[in-house]
Symmetry: C2
Subunit: 216 residues, 2 copies
Amino acid sequence: MKGNVVIVEDDPLVAAHVGRGVEAHDGLSLVATTGTLAGARELLDRKVDLFILDLGLPDGSGIELIEEIRARGGLEPKILVLSVLGDQDTVLAAVLAGADGYLLKDIDSLDIGQQAADALTGGAPLSPSIAAYVLRHLRRQRDDAKSDDADPPLSPREIELLQLLARGYSNRQAAVALEISPHTIGDHVKSIYRKLRVSNRGEAMVRAFRSGLLRL
Amino acid sequence: MKGNVVIVEDDPLVAAHVGRGVEAHDGLSLVATTGTLAGARELLDRKVDLFILDLGLPDGSGIELIEEIRARGGLEPKILVLSVLGDQDTVLAAVLAGADGYLLKDIDSLDIGQQAADALTGGAPLSPSIAAYVLRHLRRQRDDAKSDDADPPLSPREIELLQLLARGYSNRQAAVALEISPHTIGDHVKSIYRKLRVSNRGEAMVRAFRSGLLRL
DNA sequence: ATTTCAATCCCCCGTTTACGGGGTGATCGC
DNA sequence: GCGATCACCCCGTAAACGGGGGATTGAAAT
């Protein structure tokens, strides 16, 4: 069974070139080509396995189309973005919206047929410079996530207690868990409140989260 | 100026093949080949622009080497992983450790020279199936972050109140702010606790965060 | 059309807990 | 010695908690 491919591309030259690439590949079948978002929308109910999609279309951004396709659920065709836009925001928006691959148009040596086939079989063809954005973004997120506290340094004991409070422990329960007096728990709680500049449990938890003392 | 390339690969056949690919490319200069982590470590002080790195080495995982290279800071050579290991955990570990690209060995049609050059110029060559992992991971993170509630849908009023509680409001203060009776605040708070299955403010805040009801 | 339900609002009660202040002492590192 | 941490204690007020009661509205289900 051949994969049904739809090309959404407003530049006739590019569309034709991509079309040739698709038709040259066994396993791919070009079923339609359109140059507008509106035209693509009319094809949404057809059985399409792969959209090869330009982002800069005359009647809007291809990203809208990605969102619409993903919002429909159901068949979940693959979406391969083919764009001149290589800036980080556009790339991430497309990927997060649900693109399965992102190729820059300026690659002359690109074998569209092979890339399309890769996308169909679950791969994600990315131009190297695009991939660099994605990896950078991934690592930045990781780094952001693990950037510890900053402002108020809680003592180990206080952090320990904080974790218990986060799990809904009362002062008394925490006292049992830590095997110290409830009074001492109260004292530690006071210290925590003072350091976090709050005056009750709820706000303390919020600040703990925002300070990175507690993990999502 | 040619890019200095070091190959870290224990399989002599693969190493030789990769070496040919590198030498065939203008702009790349193969300066060393080693089959062990230990051998690679001895090269860390040399001026290397690109490591082409296997992960499964006899004396440990190449991921260790990535971490060591990145921990040194300074020159920051590029690192292109070339591995048979295509599982998600390995890929993500390598990428998060600081790999600039990840290619699977099973690709016969891979032009190592071109991929290496891409890596050197800031690109991130990823095999399509690898890229799929990365994109999936990226979207999953995004989805996790914005996945509303899940179990218990709080009413608008309750969410409104929750925000106040997160800012440290007492029931009484919240009553003033929302211009309703403190008793009603108490009722809403009870509802919130019931829906979030908690029994005090602190735990409620924690659950609210983990459910995405409150933003970091 | 009736019922059922969730959401909103209001009130009272009693018990438990939290909060904020006070004071004491031991240990450890600078 | 001094400051910070950790530990313990007591007190009183204030707040939170959990249970009960009831009312209204509007939407959804029967």
